[in-house]
Each structure stands twice: as C-alpha cells, then as structure tokens.
C-alpha cells in the first residue's frame, strides 16, 4: 500500500522503513526464521526422523550445537523443522481470522443498526471464552493434531479481526471521499471494496502481524499440552514438553526451542510495531 498524501519533500516509504529500527530488526528476524523453515526442506544438520539412542541427551558441542534430545535427535535440526509447523499453523490461523472477520466487521460497519448490534454482541460472547481454554476443548474434542490446532486458533482470530475491521471502517465511512462515492451512486458493497478496504489495510496488516505472533505462542502452548502437531513431526511446544521432566539433566532441551519461540515472536511484534510506525507516523508521536 502506498501513502497517497505524500508531499515531494517527505522521504520515500522504503527509506522511512529502513530508518525504522523496529521494522529492520523485526524484518531480519522474520526473514531468517522463514529461511530456516524453507532450508529445512532441503537440508538439516541431522535427520530428525532417525533416532540414535547412543547419542541421547548430549550437551551442546561442535557436532550438535544445541545438543541432542532423549532420542538422540539433533535439537538444532528439530528447531529448523519445527519452524515450518509454527509458521504454517499461525499463518493459516491468521488467514481464517481475516477471511471471516474482515467481511463480518466491514458488513457491521456498512449496515449499522441491528446487523451491527447482533454481530458485535456475538463478538462479545466470543471474548467471554478464554481463548486458550476453548482451543484446548476444540482440539481435545476433534482430536489432537496440527489441523485442529489451526482451526482452534483461527476461530479465535475471527472476532479480533471483526473488531479491528469494524472500528477502522467506521472511521472511514464519514470521510468526504466516501460521501463523494455515495453521491456518485456506488453501493455499500462497492464502497467497502474500493474505498474502505484499501484504507484499513494498514490496520489489518498490523493486527495480522500481532495475531501471527500470538498464533505461534498459542500453537506452542497447545503442542506443549500434546494437542498440537503429533510426533514424530517436531514442534517447538512438543520439544518443551519433552524437556520438562529432564530439566535437571538436559536443560538445553528446553532452553533452545524456547529461545526460538521468543525470538520469532519478538521479531514479529517488532515488525508489527515498525509497520504501524512507518505507515502511520502520527501513532509514533502519540505512543
């Protein structure tokens, strides 16, 4: 998205982006994590499906940078493969949230009245359910696994995006260019697509980054409880579960997967903050 009201004197979007420390740091982390996940399809230091019992719970060394787990698997390789799972689950969950939430939110804003009231009450109902508890129930009912984890996390993204889209759309509707479009005879649906959506894209992008980060945390929580991706597919949360009973003997089994989660989530949050700053410089002065 480009900023339309740029004056000739102001710097370009790209140069502002690279001057923003949050954005640069977050962007680098996001690219590195994505590259790590992609690389794992082609190459990992060790095969994560092969169990080498003689190498079990080795501390970090030059052969195994992050040590090995209780089956002798290389922790670094498992973190690389586990990144795929985290990214896939969180990304699709954001897609579900946006795919349902944005139409609902913009509809509520466009129609107002009863439709708006009904949708927003429904939203409030969603917020009464602790998301993690409900996700645990959903995955427990439909069986553990990555797909059900995606659905469980995705469902709770819907009201979040509905709320953001509605609030954003409500602030755009009274603007002059929308009035002009209405005067020109455009219907609510067309106005929403042509004028509302492009103007709330920034908000949605920022919220998307935040939900992506939260999705990675939620997936790790579900996997930790044994409700996410199932073994032998490595996942960061599952690795922490396996590490839990071995804190006294093999702490590296917990330290490194946890750091992978922290760094990824931190990077995404920085990226979100950075995007918000760059596209809406007003917010920087305020917050």
């Amino acid at each position: 998205m480009t900023v339309s009201h740029e004056t000739p004197g102001s710097r370009s979007l790209a140069s502002r982006a690279f001057a923003n420390r949050s954005f640069v740091a977050g962007f680098i982390v996001a690219v590195l994590v994505a590259a790590m996940a992609l690389l794992s399809y082609l190459w990992t230091p060790y095969d994560v499906t092969r169990l080498v019992i003689s190498d079990k719970t080795l501390p970090p060394s030059s052969a195994h940078w992050f040590g090995t787990d209780h089956f002798g698997r290389d922790i670094l390789s498992m973190i690389m493969v586990g990144a795929r799972n985290s990214i896939a689950v969180a990304l699709v969950a954001v897609g579900i949230g946006m795919g349902f939430g944005v139409p609902l939110g913009t509809l509520a804003a466009a129609r107002g009245g009863l439709v708006d009231d009904a949708l927003m009450r429904l939203n409030d109902l969603f917020f009464a359910f602790p998301a993690l508890l409900s996700a645990i129930m959903i995955t427990a009912i439909f069986g553990p696994g990555a797909v059900n984890a995606i659905i469980a996390i995705g469902i709770f993204n819907i009201p979040v995006f509905a709320r953001v889209a509605r609030a954003g759309a409500l602030s755009i509707w009274p603007r002059e260019f929308v009035l002009a479009a209405r005067a020109a005879g455009k219907g609510p649906a067309r106005i929403t697509v042509e004028h509302i959506l492009p103007n709330i894209a920034t908000l949605l992008l920022v919220q998307g980054t935040i939900q992506f980060a939260l999705g990675i945390l939620a997936e790790a929580g579900l996997s930790y409880l044994g409700l996410g991706a199932q073994p032998p597919m490595p996942s960061w949360g599952r690795m922490l579960f396996d590490a839990q009973t071995r804190m006294a003997t093999a702490p590296w089994m917990a330290i490194f997967p946890g750091m992978a989660i922290v760094i990824t989530v931190l990077g995404l949050n920085l990226l979100g903050d950075g995007i918000a700053d760059i596209l809406d410089p007003k917010s920087r002065r305020r917050a």
Binding site: A128, L132, I136, L217, A220, A254, G258
Partner: protein
Amino acid sequence: MTAYLLKRLVIAAITLVVASMVVFAVLEVLPGDPARLMLGMNASADQVALLRNQMGLDAPLILRYLHWVGGLVTLDFGRSYTYSVPVIDLVRERLVVSLPLALMALTLSTAIAIPVGLFAASRQGRAGDAIAMGTAQLGVAVPNFWFALMLIYLFAVWLRLVPAGGFPGWSAGAWPALKALLLPAVALALPQAAILARVTRSALIEVMNEDYIRTARAKGLPYRAVLWRHALRNAMIPVLTILGLQFAFLLAGTIIIENVFYLPGLGRLVFQAITQRDLIVVESVVMLLVAAVIIVNLLVDMSYALADPRLRGRQ
C-alpha cells in the same frame, strides 16, 4: 447511572445464558460415550445402556440442558464420572489452589506493571523508558510455560530454593504452600505485567497531553506531582480494561502453568477431565471459568462508572 448499570447487567446475563448453551452444545458433539468409557471396552451393550440410563444420558437434550443449568444455579454440579465424587467437592478442593495462585499472579503483575509504566512515562523518550519498554517487549514474547521451565531450572534445580513442583496442601502450613505457589505465580505474572506496563505507559502519555494537565503544569505543579495526582487516576480506565481482560488469560494460563508445576488446581482438573472425557467436570468447570470472566468484566464496566463520572451519563 442506574440505566448504564442495568444495561450492563442485562447484557452480562444474556451472555451468560448464551455461553451456557454454547458450552452444553459443544460438549454434546463430543465423540465417545462416557458410559462406555467408564465401563471399559469389555462391557456388554446392556450394561452400557443401564449406566446411560442411570447417568441420565437418555433424556431429551433440552431436559438435560435445563437439568444441568438448574444444577449450576443451585451449585449441584452432578458427579464426576472418573472420580465418582460430586463435582462441587472437586471444584472446592482445586479452587483453594487456583484462586490464591491467580490472585498472587494478578497482584504481582499489577505491582510490577504500574510502577514500571509510571517510570517509563515519566522518562518518555529517554534511556530509562527505552530499557523498560525493551524489557516489556521481550516479556510479551515469552511463553509463560517456557519461562516457568527456566524458573524451575534456576530456582529449583540450580539454587534449590523452592520445590520444582507439587503442592503440599494448606494443611502443611501457609509458608510451604505459598512457597509452592511462588514460582507458578511469577511465571504467570511476568508476561502479563509486560503487557500491562505498556498499556499503563501509553495511557499515561496520552493523558499527559490533555489540556487539564497543561493547566496543572502551568500553575506550577512539578511534572512528577502532575503524573501522580492527575494523570494516574485518569489513565486507570484503559489499565482496568486490560486487567479485566487479563483475568481471562490468567485463568486459561493456569491450565498450562498448573501442568508445568504439577499443581492440583482447577486448570489441571479441567485439562485432565478433557483428556479423560469426564464431560460433567468439563462442562461445569468451563462454565464456572466463563462465568468468572463475564462477572469480572461486568465489575470492570461498573468500576468505570465509579472511576469516571463522565461515563455515567453516557448510554
């Protein structure tokens, strides 16, 4: 004022009723017959049918729903399939672990977040602000169960100051029990404190830009005094909102944290009940947690009206 409170009350009541329908409906689609599960795979069809009848699983859906809701209201939650004791007894004995844990975590997170938020806001744009908010940014990214594992490693495995898990019970004395809850409370509190500190800071900074703050400054009050006397009170509304929302996170967080520390609390109870298909326990505990969230948010809404007289006229 009364109209505002009444409207909030009605909305909360409706939400509660709809939520109870959702919980009941969701658990109805649960695959697996609890009667079959209790008797094991070798039981005959007759035995299963008999138990289903005894458990009231044969009655029509609507009657079972009404029976269940009636039970909830009178605090008669039925009997657990797996523990064979009244659910209310289970809840009561688990609540004495989870409630102190949640309260400790909430107190800790507020006690950390508000001073940090104040500190950062009073040094906006300076090094202290950057360090405090950098730490908060990091805190938001840390999964509480991993943080819990690191705390166990540091304080239980390495320094041997506290037990790594388990709960001695309140009968063992207040100090050993509190000691067992200390690490779990810290693990729950710190990520929440990070969020709360950020909200406190931005709410304060927002308020500090208001006209009446400028007036207070203009009449010669020092910056710190204005921050404490005028800004903090006015910044409390967003802080209260987040505190209310965090209560729900906290309850859900106890599920994971109680698992990490092997604490016999409500969260662990509901998690085990889900995996054991102990429907009655799941229904009742989930409904209790949802009701707690709704009531806390209602109280937060009401406290707005007390904290900010301007809101009383609205709506």
